[in-house]
Symmetry: C2
Subunit: 421 residues, 2 copies
Amino acid sequence: MGPINWKVTATDGEARAGILRSRRSVIETPVFMPVGTQAAVKGLRFEWLEDELDAQIILANTYHLFLRPGPELIRKLGGLHKFSSWSRTLLTDSGGFQVFSLTDLRKLTEEGVEFRSHIDGSRRFLSPEISMEIQAALGSDIVMVFDECPPGDAGEDKTRQSLELTERWARRTKTRFDDLQESGMDAGSLSAPPASAGGRELRSNDVDFERGVIPRADEGDIDLSGRQALFGIIQGAGHLELRKESLERTIDIGFDGYAIGGLSVGEEKSVMYGVLEYLAPLMPADAPRYLMGVGTPEDLIEAVARGVDMFDCVIPTRNGRTGGAFTSRGKLNIRNAKFADDPGPLDPDCECSVCRRYSLAYLRHLYQAGEMSAATLISHHNLAFFLDTMRRVRQSITSGTFPRFRREFLNKLQENQEADV
Amino acid sequence: MGPINWKVTATDGEARAGILRSRRSVIETPVFMPVGTQAAVKGLRFEWLEDELDAQIILANTYHLFLRPGPELIRKLGGLHKFSSWSRTLLTDSGGFQVFSLTDLRKLTEEGVEFRSHIDGSRRFLSPEISMEIQAALGSDIVMVFDECPPGDAGEDKTRQSLELTERWARRTKTRFDDLQESGMDAGSLSAPPASAGGRELRSNDVDFERGVIPRADEGDIDLSGRQALFGIIQGAGHLELRKESLERTIDIGFDGYAIGGLSVGEEKSVMYGVLEYLAPLMPADAPRYLMGVGTPEDLIEAVARGVDMFDCVIPTRNGRTGGAFTSRGKLNIRNAKFADDPGPLDPDCECSVCRRYSLAYLRHLYQAGEMSAATLISHHNLAFFLDTMRRVRQSITSGTFPRFRREFLNKLQENQEADV
């Protein structure tokens, strides 16, 4: 009886369709997870994510919540689900990536990493143990190990050192994680999950946050432990042999799922695709595979083709805030003067509530006029496009037509590619 | 057969409950009109205004839309309703107030006013005729006359001069307005209104923007002309005799409704209440009375008590963006540290979707973390509170209990008054 249940329901080449059951919702994969860095998906109310976009899982960032409002406060208020009112699955990263990418002043030791807060410059410290304690206070459903993230262009020696430190940290992570679960420190724990409650129809207002909802399997009840799940992270930059070694070391420790870290950090696309092509088929088939921080619609399709199940990335909302829209015909930027009098939607093939109602001309006006609605509406469409694309990917895998879908989808993306996004 | 239909359905003292039928929706009064300066209510999607808040009328600003995106573009795209997708009633102001309050460099002549755009510093010109041409291009349902707005502390001589200019401008306004209606320049004209269509159930997606919807009266069809309505504006600052004179001059010209301008511009509250107490009962009973740019919940109640029917103000959304919430127990500011761990709602007596779901602690976190959702959620609650308050005011007038409602509502507002909003 584990914290999650994972089942592959169809394959097409290396591509997989699956069902991931967490203690809080049923997640159909491949899945794109909207990023809610500070326990909020920027510009979108949870109501839209639930009712229209039907997101079953979102991500929150341990680094940001550690600094503000702090894990003590969130624990006091019952964990991140209750604090934020998001009742479906929450995945939290470990803070490692942010410490190594956002902060300038940091001091790496065997024990952990000292850094300065980007908010007030105060000295802070993160370690495998502290990351687990924070994530237990957050009570997220899927916890990520605390890893070191070497630069994308790190040489083989540096990468190997980093990888070995990451392994030692992963072992410490797991030890503390297990202790915290045993001692009841998981703020999101579901002590008496009602196995008969439906997961797909979940609505926030119906949720008892003390008990949560354990989804019912299609073929009968699946017992879940009600505890947090812990995912390991494979590093190794672009070095295939080191990737393999990292994978083996990570599997040796043993996790509920496996993530690929350290990609989409500035390397060439071909490097990322090469690592995925080599690595994903070596990863355990009986656990979900999560590619962290990726990516564009093209990246998602290419990674699914190589066997990846889960993704997260800030670009739908980050680009949305600067007027960048992802569409079935490629990217567009709402600032472009040609949209000033265009009564059509962002994407004529999109069924989202923004595309059904608001014109390019109006959205461009909102953007030019500095209305925050421009950001919220374009971000909404972008997330709708990403989630809908993943649903179509899944459908094509299930029906054995993924290669054709991939070809046609990627061809169509070229239609109105622009350089200005 | 006029452009609007107005009926008083109940009175309680000077307070009136009424029904205002425009060519696009049925508006129950007293009514608070959310301000959509640039054809968008800041931070709120129209979906919320329609489906939850049930706003039947919003206001847009001629000055802002004149400068950006410009009336030519909006006319080309079918008028402001079609451009923005707001299908219910739109009221546009004349641009006068903004020219006199937002811009530094301006030159007032008999012909009109030259000013510099706050956007790019370019020289622009507004006059009664130009304001009417812009508002015809916008195709709003209720048009305001172009008036001069003297400073709130203007002396009697300056106020009289201003009032006389305003009268001459009002006559020019009406002449050009009538010409534009005759010559079919109203972009929002409803040439063949389907009198049998229901108004209250209106949903944007069901609307034929070429034809619109003329609401059906309870007691049978009411024929409306399908044209724009024109409201006059009474000036006169705090000088009661001049207010009376301005009223008489304005009635002499003849309008579909009458507005009180030049209040809430820095004068003492007692001056505003005094003017309303004197002026409103002198205003035509058979036309709606609109107090421009007002105000706080207290102001609304006090003005209704003196006979006013319509209001608009930016404070629900402006305060919402800086963390200020209006509640049944008074104002609060979400920045206040005491809310950091408060699991309760902004207003325990509010039934809006924000108060039903999001806690003070979470909203404060969003604000402190710089998430734009803080602004959108608090603005949403504030507008819900304003609109709901007006519905309760109306109900109390209808049931003859307005004096008690007024007393209890104002007493309760004192409960958690704070100085920091």
